[in-house]
């Protein structure tokens, strides 16, 4: 009977292999080579580790999980994590060993959502990481993971699950990248995060891709009563296309904040944002995006907050900055409520750097480039009190990098 049910489900997923995603350019999956998923202990070669340091600022010694193409490397967890019972392991292994992993897997992101989730489900081999933080444990150091394409023309599937148990706290930082010189490829990342009652999960994702690369993350988060989820999502490189729309479901008193900082360039298509569904009384959500477009890039910044009960609050802030006349920014904030007593607001604005601000700063002794850099840095800097200090420094480095590239 169970086998029959799975066969029916798999059939539905197979049908979804031709199902276009709701947003973003459609990609012909048959153009990409699929590798043979495998898991290895240890670490990849030194050159890749150095790339991880250079491109996404991750200290190679601290990376708990590193996936290169369709090969997952995992190192023995650092003693400090193991001591508290924190688990970081390849999902494939976790699905054999851990009931929680099996319970969450594909429960938040349905495998037949679109062709990318379907392909990941059928061919991905469940590579990706699994992180479990036991009840009440507060992990002070960020848990680092890194996902890298390896060669041109391949597809990388990764399926990640993070489970933060009751009252626990953790911060996961994932760097996504391609090594220098890799020009084409597809990254499909499925992420399912479960934040139990009163727990807190911070998630930083740093994307450093390259022209010719398509990226299709699919992320869903469930936050139980009084839990908190905040994400900081930075895209700061050229990319052929990236489309991501993470959604968080929030129980009573839970809070979520999505922050996206996007530097769009070189004709890439960037369709990013996030959504929150306020299911429990007192749930709150914020969706903040800062989008900068230049050199023919096209950006769609989405935000959607839906309230299903009273006593909830949500706010969307989408700010776009257009640095030339051949690029495009579109902002799509949506607030929706079926519950009297919910307070939902949004603010969206698209503009250029203020000439008045530039003239003011020039009168204070700044050259035009210095003035532009100061304004850009201000635009891109979003307050995120939850970021660990070490991650905050990395985020500041990224903002500096974006500003330097944009202003020269």
């Amino acid at each position: 009977m169970v086998c029959m049910a799975r066969a029916v489900a798999e059939e539905a997923v197979r049908r979804a292999l031709s199902k276009r995603a709701e947003y973003g350019p459609d990609i012909d999956l048959s153009r990409y080579r699929m590798g043979r998923p495998r898991v290895e202990e240890g670490v990849p070669g030194g050159a890749l580790l150095e790339e991880a340091r250079r491109r996404v600022g991750l200290d190679p010694r601290g990376i708990s999980y590193f996936q290169v193409g369709e090969t997952a490397f995992y190192r023995a967890m650092e003693a400090s994590l193991r001591r508290f019972g924190v688990v970081v392991k390849p999902l494939r292994i976790a699905l054999e060993e851990d009931e929680r992993a099996r319970r969450i897997a594909w429960s938040l992101v349905p495998p037949d959502k679109d062709k990318y989730t379907a392909a990941a489900y059928l061919y991905g081999g469940e590579l990706g990481y699994y992180v479990y933080v036991p009840p009440g444990v507060k992990v002070e150091q960020p848990i680092y993971t890194c996902l890298s394409l390896f060669t041109g023309g391949e597809v990388q599937f990764t399926h990640n699950i993070v489970y933060v148990d009751e009252g626990a706290e953790a911060h996961v930082t994932t760097g996504c990248m391609v090594p220098h010189g890799v020009k084409g490829g597809l990254h499909v990342g499925i992420s399912e995060f479960y934040v139990a009652r009163g727990a807190r999960l911070g998630y930083t994702m740093l994307h450093s891709w390259a022209p010719g690369i398509h990226v299709r993350p699919r992320t869903a988060v469930r936050v139980e009563e009084g839990g908190e989820y905040y994400s900081y999502y930075a895209v700061y490189s050229p990319v052929e296309s990236i489309q991501s729309y993470p959604v968080a479901w929030l129980a009573a008193g839970a809070h979520a904040k999505f922050t996206s900082v996007v530097s769009a360039e070189e004709g890439g298509v960037y369709d990013l944002g996030g959504g929150a569904v306020l299911e429990g009384e007192g749930a709150t959500a914020e969706i903040v995006s800062r989008v900068m477009a230049r050199d023919g890039a096209s950006v769609t910044a989405r935000g959607r907050i839906e309230s299903r009960v009273g006593g909830t609050r949500g706010h969307i802030e989408c700010l776009g900055l257009l640095l030339d006349s051949v690029s495009r920014v579109e902002s799509v904030p949506v607030i929706s409520s079926t519950a009297p007593g919910a307070e939902l607001t949004h603010e969206a604005a698209i503009g250029s750097l203020s000439e008045e601000n530039i003239a003011y700063l020039e009168a204070k002794g700044f050259t035009e480039d210095e003035a532009r850099a100061l304004l850009l840095r201000g635009f891109l800097s979003v307050e995120e009190p939850g970021l660990p200090e070490i991650v905050r420094r990395e985020v500041e480095r990224i903002v500096d990098y974006i500003v330097r590239n944009a202003v020269g």
């Binding site: 700010l319 203020s354 020039e362 009168a363 002794g365 700044f366 840095r377 635009f379 800097s381």
Partner: protein, 237 residues
């Protein structure tokens, strides 16, 4: 220290300044008086070299150096400062960041805490610069920027307009601090309070020229007695 010679300037093709002569020695505070639309802000903008004002004749000298054709940022780095009447609101740039950057630029980081205390800006540092500030907060913040520039000559455009009495007193203290540091200070004001406290020399701008000058208290009395129009044609005596 600050000298303006026969300055002519246009704004949007319209001649506003028609031969202004003015000198403010180092360490002195001079007032620039005049009715609305007399060209006071245009004069300060022309001295600072702001792009919307086209200087067609004359010179601006800072410490004897001709800065007439320099960019505003070059003038600022040579020690010329303009406190805007209405500084623009900034998005994303906190007041604290702005003050830090200005202090770094002008080598005055050691003064930062003292200036913030003096102008009571502590509660504003984490807010976006000038965004939603009250009149007094805006003026005090702009004066802090000006102080941190450590100017040799400071042009203050109505630093006391739209502010409460307590803020005016702080503004006056800041002006006195500038002059005590050796700066030549030219202040546009409409209020007796600031004029009365600062004293010094006043210049009356009428019809695009300096129509009268003299001790501030005398000139203010004459303006009160005869109105601005009654002083037209007195010349710069």
């Amino acid at each position: 220290m600050l000298r303006v010679e026969d300055l002519h300037a246009r704004v949007a093709g319209q001649e506003v300044l028609r031969g202004v002569d003015l000198e403010v020695p180092a360490g002195e505070v001079h007032l620039l008086l005049g009715p609305n639309a007399a060209g006071k802000t245009t004069l300060l903008s022309a001295i600072m070299g702001l792009p919307h004002v086209e200087v067609t004749r004359g010179r601006v000298l800072l410490g004897g150096r001709d800065v007439t054709h320099m960019e505003p940022w070059e003038r600022a780095r040579l020690g010329l400062a303009l406190a805007f009447q209405l500084p623009p609101e900034f998005r994303g740039v906190k007041l604290g960041t702005l003050l830090e950057k200005v202090a770094e630029k002008h080598g005055s980081s050691d003064m930062l805490g003292e200036v913030v205390d003096m102008l009571r800006l502590d509660g504003l540092l984490e807010r976006e610069a000038f965004r939603g500030f009250s009149g007094g907060e805006r003026k005090r913040a702009e004066l802090a920027v000006t102080l941190l520039q450590r100017p040799r000559a400071a042009l203050l455009d109505e630093p006391d307009s739209g502010v409460d009495l307590e803020s005016v007193s702080l503004v006056a203290s800041a002006v006195e601090r500038l002059s005590a540091g050796g700066a030549a200070v030219l202040v546009v004001t409409h209020t007796d309070f600031l004029a009365g406290r600062l004293g010094g020399t006043a210049h009356l701008l009428l019809g695009g020229r300096i129509a009268a000058r003299g001790p501030a208290r005398d000139l203010l009395e004459r303006i009160r007695a005869r109105g601005f129009g009654g002083l037209y044609g007195e010349g710069g005596g």
